[in-house]
Symmetry: C2
Subunit: 169 residues, 2 copies
DNA sequence: TATTGTTATACTCTATAACTATA
DNA sequence: TATAGTTATAGAGTATAACAATA
């Protein structure tokens, strides 16, 4: 380990960034000029943390969180996903899917139905009450997205959606 | 609970989506037409999961993951963050910061230095070896981002960065 | 032999409360 | 009285291995 140096210094070699002498008001502003703050990985992580927090908050009165909501939404989509397919799409482990599906099935929101083409697999479909629950929940996630993206115009939101979709699909 | 219905049906009421009779090749294609698949919350979650996985993989030979990398990057930024400020910026609990900083300090990559203006707080700065480690790690995260965004042109990447930054800052 | 769903289990991540030293 | 960092702990989320039924 190197010997201890003065304090609050920028240390040896080339200075990583020109920086105000030290503290200003709050730190956010200083940090936003940092290379890390412009990495897409960092920006998406931050967007996801804050978006999730807001969505979970708005969903809380329905006793739902974003993960179970996503499962319910897929069961309501008319695409008849099997548990395996759903796990692949939502980046969920098979064992996680079991737990999520169990809870939604206990609530009477979805059902496991046999797949006529493969008796090993189970197809997820929503019940009538599950579809009503989904309608309420989708309204809340729509509001969460509206609030999360309030800094963008409608055209910019579509643009963001389009760019992200091209990245992940 | 409602009575059981045929199987793989779209269920009662208005059909949520027009859908191919049933199974096609793989499920991804079917699912991408779903409303959930166009929610920004879902897209960022997916981008984050896959981006993180790739970045962690590329960082593994340096014995780093994205979280500790972010802490190291901030310590190398010249902005002299305190632990509290860093936790706020990276969406980390104060106790999580302690653990992350402990490990990086044990490796000799960063140091806690006293804040001359407030003896309660500790300022994080990188050591010389920490800066070298960061340089190697940053090269790997740059490659991860390059690979993650390969579907986009350079202009589109900047556009995505800009839109995300406006959302989260 | 490989795959779907399941169970049990362990591991990581995240959050909470209580403590200390400073402010 | 409030805040920064710390510790211990609990809870949620995620991952792994083994198993039964089916392909």
């Amino acid at each position: 380990m190197p010997p201890s140096t003065p304090a609050a210094s920028t240390a040896s070699g080339a200075a990583p960034l020109s920086v105000q002498p030290d503290r200003a008001g709050d730190a956010e502003g200083r940090f936003q000029a940092t290379p890390l703050a412009r990495e897409v990985a960092f920006l998406t992580a931050r967007a996801r943390v804050r978006g999730n927090a807001l969505a979970n908050e708005l969903l809380s009165d329905l006793d739902l969180k974003v993960r179970p909501f996503a499962v319910l939404a897929m069961a309501c989509s008319g695409t008849n996903p099997s548990q395996r397919e759903l796990g692949d799409f939502l980046d969920l482990d098979p064992s996680q899917v079991v737990t999520l599906v169990d809870r939604l099935e206990e609530r009477g929101a979805i059902r496991r139905e046999p797949d006529p083409r493969d008796r090993r697999s189970k197809i997820l479909v929503a019940t009538e009450s599950g579809q009503q629950l989904h309608a309420q929940a989708a309204e809340r996630t729509r509001k969460a997205e509206e609030q999360t993206l309030q800094a963008l115009t409608s055209a910019e939101r579509d643009q963001l959606r389009e760019l992200l979709a091209r990245v992940v699909y």
